[in-house]
Symmetry: C2
Subunit: 153 residues, 2 copies
């Protein structure tokens, strides 16, 4: 029906991108959640909320891409590509915002030092922010590829 855009919805590159997003966003959530009192800082609560949105979105599209790659090619419709593009765009902006907020608060706590941020906890905050950045990067790549596909339909 149409030429395939590498990395856009339904291709195997897209499957890889979604897999990466799932892994990195889950890692970010886990680093932030376990053994950390994240609810005492707004920025960390925001990161947890955003990751709670990104993970189901990535997993859903991972499953759809897996179906399309391994079982049966899906018909690509313009409306669906637009929805996926918009979702990706919103979620990539949200995850960049969450990553930056977390990173800057972690940096401020690290400078303040002392009881606010023992080395063990601050390392976790930073890892969580790093994972959120990686997740953002893959998510914005997906967004661009889908936009390319959408504008070529």
């Amino acid at each position: 029906m149409m030429e395939e855009v590498a990395g856009a919805f339904g291709s195997s590159a897209s499957f890889a991108l979604r897999l990466g997003q799932t892994v990195f966003s889950s890692a970010s959530l886990l680093f932030m959640c376990f053994g950390v009192d994240f609810y005492s800082y707004t920025a960390f609560c925001y990161l947890v909320t955003v990751m709670g949105l990104v993970i189901p979105w990535s997993v859903t599209l991972l499953v759809v891409d897996a179906y399309s790659v391994f079982i049966k090619d899906l018909q690509i419709q313009q409306r669906i590509v637009m929805i996926i593009f918009l979702g990706d765009m919103v979620l990539s902006y949200l995850s960049l915002a969450a990553a930056c907020s977390t990173a800057s608060v972690a940096d401020l706590l690290l400078e303040a030092g002392g009881s606010l941020c023992p080395a063990r906890l601050c390392g976790r905050y930073q890892m969580s922010a790093a994972m959120a950045f990686l997740s953002w990067f893959l998510s914005s790549a997906s967004c661009l590829f889908n936009f390319w596909l959408f504008s070529s339909l």
Copy 2:
């Protein structure tokens, strides 16, 4: 030579977008700079740096758009549109990152209260972050329109 994309390079909507970017990024820089010791926080230094990149970029493209709208239509080349798209993309991500960092640090300082953040200063930090958000919004709109133009060339 080709149909014009509203909001993309060389159109009058683009001129308006660039004007808004220039105004908001300058406002963000001014709120942060005057009478505030921004150099004591990494996030605020980062905002100042990013706005120092966004302002010349917006002003340059504002002038080019003004020339194209009021004086003489410019020939649109694919390579130039791609450069503008890439620049917009990078700068919009940077300004979103700066806005989020500033907002989260300002929020943390506001919670900490007391001598760290007198009401006058904190209000300025928040205004600066708000202006940076507006600048990001216009910048990402420009980026999308230019990408649309690029993919239709």
